[in-house]
Symmetry: C2
């Protein structure tokens, strides 16, 4: 089993970058709807979506936010960080099957409270920015090395 | 089957309010992790979480964001709206079994582009604000009345 480790506040430098990629398939959209209760038909109903401005089903914006959350929690700073805030601009629709890459860059460190400002951009497989924003994160004080958690296994019923 | 309808830009008034409630159980947290890839052990691993500042498993901040997304998509303005942006401050941890209520209030209307500013607060069952922020939404131009979509049925495997 592979392991993941975090970066402590002291280890992190301004300008430090990281990225995390995830394919958003129909399954991820359905699971996000089931988790959040957001059953907006533009995400779940092909017929409704066809009549929308998007012409096809799209992913929830906040699911793209979840990919940023995963990047922060698993890569930079990684486990032990505390999410204090996030701004998000949803710039382009995310379609079923799109591969999203969240790119992070540390742009400020507040020494007294060990708080980081991290600029976030999420690109699709065509290199287009689909969402961007700024995360505010309390960095971990202590080094943590853990076995990489496995994803929960879930089944969608017909 | 019950129906839901939206509010068009012209119908919406500054000061208009709405709310949407959802219980965040272990199931919702696992589904959010499976959707987003955010398998941060503070959400999924009771032993890891016990050693954290929170002392127990907590929900993903962005899952609370998902409850706001559901409130906007299903209640105000409802179907046909387009999510342009969201700011979020995560103020208190959300624990397993908490009932969250997203409270929305329209605070500005931009007539030329039919864009709304909606202040969002998410409270727990004790009346404490767990998250707050501002949504930017393109309001629907046309009235939509649809059958209330049913939640996807999913099963979590052991």
């Amino acid at each position: 089993m592979s392991q993941i480790s975090n970066y402590t506040f002291d280890e992190i430098t301004i300008g430090q970058k990281a990225s995390y990629s995830r394919v958003i398939g129909e399954k991820e959209i359905i699971l996000f709807a089931a988790a959040s209760g957001d059953v907006n038909p533009v995400h779940l109903d092909a017929e409704f979506a066809a009549s929308s401005i998007f012409k096809e089903r799209i992913a929830h914006g906040m699911l793209t936010g979840g990919v940023i959350s995963a990047a922060l929690a698993l890569v930079l700073p990684g486990p032990g960080c505390i999410y204090l805030g996030q701004s998000l601009r949803f710039q382009k629709p995310v379609k079923i099957g799109d591969e999203l890459t969240a790119q992070l860059e540390v742009t400020a460190k507040r020494e007294d409270k060990e708080i980081l400002t991290i600029e976030c951009e999420v690109l699709n497989q065509h290199g287009k920015v689909v969402a961007s924003g700024t995360a505010t994160i309390k960095a971990p004080s202590e080094k943590i090395i853990i076995d990489e958690p496995s994803a929960p296994r879930v089944t969608i019923e017909a």
